[in-house]
Symmetry: C2
Subunit: 328 residues, 2 copies
DNA sequence: TTATTTTAAGGAATCGATTCCATACTCTGC
DNA sequence: GCAGAGTATGGAATCGATTCCTTAAAATAA
């Protein structure tokens, strides 16, 4: 492999001069520039980033920690992150925890030893060990999807949006509303969305029926099984169900279809998450769209800001919209 | 930041000893080990990868070049790659060309300057500049999705699988089959799938109607517009259409539904790509499943093999299966 | 014409690891 | 009691860049 020394020798200058040329700082004569340029062209020389970052303490790499890559939400977020990073000449080192949320801590350490300039964390919890790991980090970390007190975060308005959706359902005349959620270690998805559901029903003096509140994981199967439990519970059927993700909703709809239960006439369904699947399934799903790609981009911008100066902790409550379709 | 020198000083040994301890090679006494361990524990020291890889010429990072991240196919492939890399203690540097296929060359260079140990290329063309860039590369590259002659490749059996699907449609009684494809710079998707279509019809003495052969891009909209053109073309309607991706098929189905054309009774639809959308759309889509996650894993394994010895060029024709559902 | 600034370029230290080599001590076995 | 093997450790060179400092020539000002 050609190094800066080879280039220096071939161009008959010192390696300091080559370095000055490469970084366009300091003085380099036109003659020298031409010779260096020519030699670089001929040899196809590319500076070693390892050497460079050993000196400069910058790698131009941002670490991204995801729970899972193969979901539409995740890939949209990554797409948004990628756009911004690429525009700013950063590369993305992607790691996934496969939903094992203790791994988030492990990866924060790992990424730092890889000398990333910053970390984007799509967090699934806000427990103490994680907060501690973040506190001990020597590089800026920005959270996406959870409000982590000690660092800048891009937060989805889970409570607000879910509340609005439930309001919309009530306004449409549904009075017996069920809920399919996930475990509560996840404050944003597990707790906030459920709290909004309960609060909104209560506000309208509607009964919160425990038999219609299910807790599963993020899978389609989980949605299917949860809906099955709701239907097979002793109590009456609900006339509407809110699912915390569109995947869960798809599973739930699947069960209803098998049982010949009409959506939305017998039971209406709403959810969070604007996947193409939610859009093209029948009936098309009424959902909250958290504009994930944009959220990813904003988080990346926030991180880059921190990398280039401003150290203030910023909290951005990201935008959302209701996509009213045919399932409610 | 703490360095190996700090550890050496604090543990009262030389930095050679610390290094030997870290890499568990050479002699280190139990006493020394304990002291070093303790100091590392206390300081939270993590060795600098930049320094390490400057010496060893290994970064433990694999570059991945994708056309686009936010498709289900891509994210499945990435998921498979990620699994294997993580098992082997490699990290993944992800880049996307946003479907600008000249960028593939740029990224091959960029990733090398980042000193990646190897590159996984989800190629969309096999043109000379790309082949040249691959030839000039100093790290192993494995291709996925296209057969690139000079390097190991994991290849989808595009011709075979498409042929089998068309056979299946013919066997089901369809005689007037249309085709929605993509541009032909992409040999695998653009050329092979079309060739299989034409060959299979010809083999069965069926007419290949030019009005029913469309060329678009990979989007849902493109599928919608292509189907519109087919229906609005002067000639009779086809009784079945094959789309080269499930996204395209979804768009095509959308148009048919709007026109109250029954699927599969009036027109049957088949495609390539086993997305969840294809599974849950109505009618559920009969597709070729190229088992993308597995393909990604195999490509990653192939690359790791090359990294640890064997230099032979391997070609793996990946498995596939037909998922017979309700759209044909 | 001399003093000062600007331009140009090389030398050497440095970043944080790894690794080869030399040195020294402790055991065995004869 | 001594040769030779095994164990333990430190010194120094090295990887490929950046960057500060010094020197020197050229350009400008006084």
């Amino acid at each position: 492999m050609t190094t800066i020394n080879d280039i220096a020798k071939l161009a008959e200058v010192s390696r300091s001069t080559v370095s000055r040329y490469l970084n366009s700082n300091g003085y380099v004569s036109e003659e020298a520039k031409k010779r260096i340029m020519k030699v670089i062209e001929e040899t196809g020389y590319m500076p070693s980033q390892s050497a460079k970052s050993l000196r400069t303490k910058k790698t131009g790499v941002i670490g991204v920690i995801l729970p899972k890559i193969s979901t539409e939400t995740a890939s949209r977020v990554v797409s948004g992150i990628n756009k911004v990073l690429q525009q700013n000449d950063y590369q993305m080192l992607l790691t996934t925890t496969s939903q094992e949320h203790k791994k988030e801590i492990e990866f924060i350490r790992l990424l730092q030893s890889r000398n990333v300039d910053g970390i984007l964390l799509l967090a699934t919890n806000t427990e103490k060990p994680l907060i501690d790991a973040i506190g001990n980090a020597t590089v800026p970390i920005v959270a996406l999807g959870q409000d982590i007190p000690t660092i800048s975060s891009v937060i989805y308005p889970d409570y607000l949006a879910t509340g609005e959706m439930i309001e919309y359902m009530i306004q449409k005349g549904y009075q017996h509303i069920g809920f399919i959620g996930v475990e509560e270690y996840d404050p944003a998805v597990g707790i906030e969305r459920k709290r909004a559901f309960v609060d909104t029903l209560t506000k309208h003096q509607l009964k919160v029926n425990k038999d219609w509140i299910m807790q599963g994981d993020f899978s389609i199967e989980s949605g299917y099984n949860s809906m099955k439990s709701i239907i097979n519970s002793g109590s009456d059927r609900p006339d509407a169900v809110f699912a915390v993700t569109d995947q869960i909703a798809v599973g739930a709809m699947q069960f209803l279809k098998e049982q010949q239960i009409q959506i939305p006439n017998d039971i209406a369904i709403a959810a969070t998450g604007a996947s193409r699947l939610a859009q093209y399934i029948e009936p098309s799903l009424t959902v909250i769209d958290f504009l994930n790609e944009e959220a990813g981009a904003i988080a990346a911008e926030l991180l880059i800001e921190e990398l280039t100066g401003t150290k203030a902790i910023k909290k951005i409550i990201h935008d959302y919209r209701l996509l009213v379709r045919n399932s409610v």
